[in-house]
């Protein structure tokens, strides 16, 4: 009972997600600022670390406006569902050496399906907003999701092929330096499709504020917007954790195994992501489609072939 409470509300549960959201949001802003030659949040708390706590608390308690003409149920429940779906992968990810909350042989499958369903919820959110810009944004989400999920699934499949298991704990246990090298191309492909899936530059097409005014989030205010932000950052966590689990051995590290290693791995992915964000302009829809279907998907297929080849030639017996 106590254990269930701890895991549901504290560690990989709600509180963890909230703390992570606040922390990552702050880290995004604080890390971005020097790249902009600025300081970033500074006066609220040490190095401005309370700033995002204040921001998110404010959003939570601010008035939520439901515009006339929308379906109020769709409009107000979709963000909540988005948050829940984004949090669910937490149960299959092996955060610490105690293994995941739900030790199942199909962990990888659950992870990719839950990550893959999220864009469709965002589509419904934009669709239900009754706003031209939101609708355009929603269509963009859908187009982008379809283009990038193929590559995402294929690159996430590589470790499963190599280790012949869908069990995330077993994958983590099997990761070695050699397997890391073999899976390096898959990691790069995974990272690129992660940028597309999370709508990060250069693929931040669905919520491009200069084009479609935040896309599907245009009409959301107060609590609804807070939920969407939460869903976004928790989704970040799930996808980063996926990368950490599949390719980098999650909690395993040098000298000792701990959640700390996992955290470092996730943050280093975030650092690369923010650096790209600070230096790359957005590309257009056609260029994104072109890139995805002409290069990314064929490369992921080739990568699978490489992994199978490596498994047969180098990795046999492991």
């Amino acid at each position: 009972m106590i254990d269930a409470f701890i895991s549901g509300f504290l560690f990989p549960g709600v509180l963890y997600a909230l703390v992570w959201t606040v922390g990552l949001f702050w880290f995004f802003r604080k890390f971005m600022a020097p790249l902009h030659k600025r300081v970033g949040p500074y006066y609220n708390g040490p190095h401005g670390s309370y700033q995002t706590l204040f921001d998110l608390s404010k959003l939570w308690t601010k008035e939520s406006i439901t515009p006339t003409g929308v379906n109020p149920y769709l409009f107000s429940t979709m963000p909540l569902i988005a948050v829940i779906v984004a949090m669910l992968p937490n149960v299959v990810i092996p955060w610490t050496n105690n293994g995941p909350l739900l030790n199942t042989p199909y962990g990888l499958l659950i992870l990719v399906v839950l990550v893959g369903i999220e864009p469709f919820l965002l589509f419904l959110i934009g669709f239900g907003s009754d706003n031209k810009y939101s609708f355009l944004g929603a269509i963009r989400v859908l187009t982008q999701a379809i283009s990038f999920e193929t590559a995402f699934f294929l690159s996430a499949l590589a470790p499963a092929l190599l280790f012949s298991t869908l069990n995330l704990s077993k994958i983590v246990e099997s990761v070695s330096f050699v397997s890391f090298l073999i899976l390096l191309p898959s990691l790069i492909l995974y990272f690129i499709s992660l940028l597309g899936l999370l709508e990060q530059p250069p693929f931040n097409i669905p919520d491009a504020e200069q084009e479609v005014v935040y896309g599907f989030m245009t009409e959301y205010s107060g609590t609804g917007y807070f939920m969407l932000q939460l869903a976004k950052f928790v989704e970040f966590m799930a996808v980063f954790a996926g990368a950490g689990t599949l390719f980098m051995g999650a909690y395993r590290g040098i000298f000792f195994d701990s959640y700390l290693w996992f955290f470092i791995k996730m943050v280093s992915i975030a650092v690369i992501m923010i650096t790209i964000r600070a230096a790359t302009p957005r590309i257009t829809m056609e260029q994104m489609l072109h890139f995805s279907w002409r290069y990314l998907v064929p490369l992921s297929l080739l990568n699978l072939a490489w992994v199978m080849f490596a498994k047969a030639m180098i990795f046999t017996g492991v």
């Binding site: 097409i205 829809m285 260029q287």
Partner: protein, 554 residues
């Protein structure tokens, strides 16, 4: 130049068979003539077009209620060969007779300028393809607010009613859209602005089919301040407040243009020191404007880093302006007769710091942003303006130069001390958005080079005693000016600014000041550039046209 003289004579001969009151030389490369009959405007336009004067800078009506006439001024320009023609003609003032043939079918660049004259003065242009009011708010439709006898205070007394006219128009526009669009189709009308994050106070009515843009209709006038009307109630020095607010990003050069026109009417020649100061301050303002322009270009693609890096450098140039005039942006530093304040030579230390800062970052900016492959991928194929289009639509400044048109007023018609400055045209060939970005970037370097030259010249002049920074900054300009008329052109950060100033005898304030600002023509192009493109291209093309809503609406 000799060649120009021959060319001018040739133009003079060619148009001499049209009945005119006078044809005379004006300034270095202008020809000024007045038609006897306003019906000849089409003939002269066609002839001038054949002679290569293919662009019309602006159309400026001047209202003379006492003589019961509206005097039309047409400014024809040849952007490349330094020959220009100023054509005047009179038309009657009564609303039903106030008509003239539209020259838009011959010269497309006249389109919006004729619409502006129609909205402001009620001049009816016969055969104009699209004669709708522009700039003015809906309550002024059909009222000709710039006419001398229009009582705007009486009109303004009923403020709430005026506002209602605007709201009603917006709503009827919406319901009209509902009717023309197929409810089952995928067409829609997007209001891109004025609340849009990338638009600023302008509204583009974008007719689009999903992501594809079918047509764009810019609705402007959201920052219409009626500056041209406002200056007529201020004295000649007070008017610079209005003139510099043409656009805050580069205010020095617009003031220079106005002051040159005043000085021409007053017959005053300013000192060489003041001329160099105008160059120095003007280039500082140009640098600060170009920095914003470059940053904005990347902002439209969702990358704010360049904007913030630019802002970092820009502050140093604003420091110089602040130390000189006391204000960062609204400097009011140029006045008829020279520059406003004596120069404290110690501000050159700050200028040197600004130049050093510029030198230290410009390499990074070039390496990371100007050569950015993603930017090139996106921007080198959209917003392409051919050289012919640029000339036909009277584009100017960096936008025209990016299409390969060699035009730069600083070289074509040197003002201030630009005849002594070493510089050259910076052009690109393809006229795409990426080319415009590159031209603006190169001009940034050029401007800093000019600042260096001006700084050196002033330092040498002060050291040798040639300039006296405490006294030379100003020559006295009388408060009352004789009757006269003058035009002046300056190369503003965004292109050509033409000031047409009319004064009456013993006037204390301008009778009419027409300001031609480049963004007006650049916005005219948007529909041509954006049709058949996608929604993603709208902010990019809009940003690359280097439009400022301030000088668009005036």
């Amino acid at each position: 130049m000799e060649g120009d003289g021959v060319l001018m004579d040739y133009i003079k001969n060619t148009i001499s068979d049209i009945p005119t009151e006078y044809i005379e030389d004006y300034k270095q490369n202008w020809l000024k003539c007045k038609l006897k009959d306003s019906k000849d405007i089409l003939t002269i336009t066609e002839k001038l077009k054949k002679l290569g004067l293919r662009s019309i800078s602006t159309i400026s009506p001047t209202d003379f209620p006492n003589e019961n006439k509206i005097e039309m001024n047409y400014f024809f320009e040849d952007l490349q060969n330094r020959k220009n023609c100023w054509v005047k003609c009179d038309i009657p003032r009564e609303f039903d007779k106030c008509k003239i043939d539209s020259i838009t079918p011959i010269m497309p660049s006249a389109n919006w300028h004729e619409r502006e004259a129609y909205s402001m003065f009620g001049v009816d242009f016969i055969n104009h393809p699209d004669l709708r009011p522009i700039i003015v708010s809906q309550d002024y439709y059909g009222k000709a607010p710039y006419r001398a006898d229009f009582d705007w205070r009486a009109h303004e007394a009923n403020q709430l009613n005026n506002l209602k006219a605007i709201v009603d128009d917006f709503k009827s526009d919406e319901s009209k859209n509902e009717k023309i669009l197929d409810p089952l189709g995928s067409d829609t009308m997007l209001n891109w602005g004025p609340t849009h994050p990338a638009s600023g106070p302008i509204r583009l009515k974008v007719h689009c089919d999903g992501e594809k843009v079918i047509s764009v209709d810019p609705e402007i006038g959201y920052v219409w301040r009626a500056l041209e009307d406002l200056v007529t109630r201020k004295d000649f020095i007070g008017a610079i407040v209005a003139v510099e607010r043409l656009c805050f990003m580069d205010n020095i050069n617009s003031m220079t243009g106005y002051c040159m026109a005043v000085e021409e009417i007053a017959g005053v020649e300013i000192t060489p020191f003041a001329k160099w100061m105008r160059v120095l301050l003007g280039e500082c303002a140009r640098v600060s404007s170009h920095f914003m322009g470059l940053g904005n270009f990347f902002n439209t693609m969702g990358l704010h880093t360049l904007m913030l890096w630019n802002m970092d450098v820009r502050e140093y140039f604003l420091d110089v302006l602040e130390s000189y005039s006391g204000a960062r942006i609204a400097t009011a530093a140029i006045e008829p007769g020279g520059v406003r304040y004596p120069l404290d030579i110690s501000i050159f230390k700050e200028l040197q710091a600004a130049i050093d800062k510029f030198d230290s970052v410009i390499g990074d900016i070039e390496a990371i942003f100007v050569k950015n492959p993603t930017m090139k991928l996106r921007a080198s194929k959209v917003g392409i303006i051919s050289k012919n289009e640029a000339i036909d639509f009277a584009l100017s400044g960096p936008v025209a130069r990016a299409s390969g048109v060699k035009t730069d007023i600083r070289l074509d018609e040197p003002y201030a001390a630009y005849n002594e400055v070493k510089m050259d045209y910076i052009t690109a060939q393809n006229g795409s958005a990426a080319d415009r970005f590159r031209v603006i970037f190169e001009e940034l370097k050029q401007s800093v080079d000019i600042i260096r030259q001006a700084k050196q010249k002033i330092e040498e002049g002060v050291a040798s005693g040639e300039f006296d920074p405490q006294k030379d900054h100003m020559v006295k300009v009388p408060k009352k000016l004789p009757a006269g008329e003058a035009i002046s052109r300056v190369e503003w950060a965004r292109g050509e600014v033409l000031m047409h100033l009319v004064t009456t005898e013993k006037a204390k304030s301008p009778y009419r000041l027409k300001m031609r600002a480049p963004s007006f023509n650049h916005t005219m192009m948007l529909n041509r550039l954006l049709a058949d493109k996608t929604l993603s291209d709208i902010p990019l093309v809009f940003g690359s046209m280097y439009i400022c809503q301030g000088d668009l609406d005036r």
